[in-house]
């Protein structure tokens, strides 16, 4: 860890990064944002922005249920609930019986309300309110190790499923005739997104997690022509905005998540303007 700190000291000889918590936060951002940005490319292509938004909100219910059931780890409770919730929505989406966005909205508000109800019982919600905005400055060296493991595992899974997911997102029936198990691949993707979102919520917050997933990919989509450009530009935007957000939040003394998201939003609007000239 000290070696990495020394490298940061060498590369970024600024006052802000003299603090260990800033170094940790920087590393956390460098680990978190690329995976979300990669997953986001397909979430945007599959028109799942609303779905992932609702998924983030369901973290509250996960923790709430964890408290009721006496699960000691908030993260575990969030992960289990998130995955179950994701599979449920995936199932509804695939049956195609009802309008998906209405169903998602119903589930989303139900889960937020249920989470708030449980967590606010006896007036104790204040201790969970940090979940809403997250705090990347509280990340520890131990957390970073877990984020690294998650990043590597996530990217491997993503690489394995990508081509089949791409085929399924272009035409499910055509993909099926070519031997792709469409439902399985779609559900695997949704679960991967759920896990990535739940792992990030503590640092980014329920309110903003979806922006990190969707904004870089949405901005990249405006200017990319190919899958490779889409992935590459999305990751670059995420990393640059993550860094810029961290530095600017230090300078202006604001919350980090919001600063990152605003930078990413800026990128989106710029890309919207460039779109005519580039694509």
């Amino acid at each position: 860890m000290n070696v990495i700190y020394a490298i940061i000291d060498f590369l970024l000889p600024f006052e802000a990064f003299e603090w260990t918590f800033m170094k940790n936060a920087l590393l956390a951002i460098l680990l978190l944002t690329p995976l979300l940005a990669l997953l986001g490319t397909m979430a945007v292509n599959q028109q799942m922005a609303f779905f992932s938004d609702a998924l983030g909100h369901s973290a509250l219910t996960g923790i709430g249920l964890g408290v009721v059931l006496g699960v000691s780890s908030d993260l575990l409770a969030m992960l289990v609930f998130g995955v179950v919730w994701a599979l449920l929505i995936c199932r509804i989406k695939q049956t195609g019986a009802t309008s998906t966005d209405t169903v998602i909205s119903v589930f989303s508000s139900t889960s937020v309300a249920a989470g708030l109800l449980i967590l606010s019982r006896g007036g104790g919600f204040a201790k969970y309110s940090s979940l809403l905005v997250g705090d990347v400055l509280a990340v520890t060296a131990q957390d970073l190790l877990w984020l690294l493991v998650a990043l590597i595992a996530g990217i491997i899974l993503w690489a394995v499923m990508y081509n089949r997911l791409l085929m399924a997102s272009i035409s499910p029936s055509l993909a099926r005739t070519r031997g792709v198990r469409v439902q399985l691949v779609e559900c695997a993707f949704v679960v991967l997104v759920a896990v990535a979102v739940m792992l990030s919520i503590k640092w980014v917050g329920v309110m903003l997690i979806n922006a990190l997933l969707i904004l870089p990919a949405a901005a990249a989509r405006n200017v990319a022509r190919s899958s490779r450009q889409h992935a590459l530009i999305s990751v670059i935007i995420a990393l640059v905005c993550g860094f810029a957000g961290l530095v600017s939040s230090y300078a202006w003394d604001t919350t980090v998540g919001a600063a990152i998201v605003l930078w990413a939003a800026g990128c989106y609007f710029i890309s919207l303007g460039l779109r005519r000239f580039i694509r």
């Binding site: 990669l38 490319t41 292509n45 028109q47 993503w158 690489a159 394995v160 990508y162 081509n163 089949r164 791409l166 085929m167 997102s169 272009i170 035409s171 029936s173 055509l174 099926r176 005739t177 070519r178 990249a220 989509r221 990319a224 022509r225 190919s226 899958s227 490779r228 450009q229 889409h230 992935a231 590459l232 694509r279």
Partner: protein, 272 residues
């Protein structure tokens, strides 16, 4: 070449499809021969698409679909290539034709790039359908006809035993369709595969088809285009017995506006 294995075929025997209590197809009996273009015609709701989905294994069906080689032996496996009628995808998706084909040809995720070997394979596949120029084109920027050719390039890799083409009803102009069918005719000669075309264009069918089957829940009549087009069954379904079919596209009999020429004067009276 076709004489070598005139018996090589995909045989449909009493194929029927029932879904949700409704009979969509009943007792369909026909052979789709290798090296031939077999065309299915019929009105909307006649069960054309149902038959395609049964062939592709998407719908469960009664009866049997058997793949028989030129010696009359049954081949257990039937590899189908499929060109859908249209592709309802998000046109803004940043995916090039190269990405699309490479994703089908290799396991390496296309966002990491395309290897030289895969690219050669993609280019070769596109060359077979005169589509090399489309390599770097975003999929959403292809015209209907271009997309059709990309899908054809995909459908013939790996070479299928049965190629199923669902001809587009809209979005492809007459020229694009002719070009597509010329490519199909060339493939038929080169690869000697069995080709099934679901067609909505009666005039082009006459020119390209080797075998035509008129479908209405079951096969009403089948044979050479001439046989079928001069049959009372054809006249009953499409309301005309004229051989010179001037109508271009049909979307069901309501849009059918034939020009009856002197060829119709051989005793056949077109129905009003």
């Amino acid at each position: 070449m076709s004489s070598q294995c005139s018996l090589c075929r995909i045989a449909l025997e009493n194929v029927s499809v029932t879904r949700g209590g409704q009979t969509l197809l009943t007792d369909v009996n026909m052979h789709i021969h290798c090296g031939q273009l077999t065309v299915i015609i019929g009105q909307n709701g006649a069960g054309k698409t149902t038959l395609v989905r049964a062939l592709l294994g998407e719908f469960t069906h009664g009866g049997a679909i058997r793949h028989v080689d030129s010696d009359g032996r049954e081949v257990p496996r039937l590899r189908t290539g499929y060109v859908p009628q249209h592709l309802a995808f998000d046109k803004e998706m940043p995916v090039t034709v190269e990405d699309f084909l490479a994703a089908n040809f290799t396991r390496r995720p296309v966002w990491t790039g395309v290897s030289r070997r895969t690219r050669e394979k993609v280019v070769e596949a596109l060359r077979a359908v005169d589509g090399e120029a489309l390599l770097k084109r975003p999929l959403g920027r292809c015209s209907g006809g271009e997309l059709q050719r990309v899908l054809l390039a995909l459908a013939i890799h790996p070479t299928p035993d049965l190629l199923v083409l669902d001809e587009p009803v809209s979005g492809v102009d007459q020229n694009g369709l002719k070009m597509f069918l010329d490519t199909v005719a060339r493939l038929k000669a080169q690869h000697h595969m069995a080709i099934l075309l679901v067609s909505h264009d009666l005039s082009l069918v006459q020119k390209y088809a080797d075998h035509v089957a008129l479908l209405d829940k079951s096969v009403l009549i089948q044979g050479t285009p001439d046989t079928v087009y001069h049959s009372p069954e054809f006249q009953r379904i499409f309301g005309v017995g004229a051989r010179n079919l001037q109508s271009t596209r049909i979307h069901g009999a309501d849009r059918w506006t034939p020009r009856v020429t002197s060829d119709a004067a051989d005793g056949e009276v077109p129905e009003a």
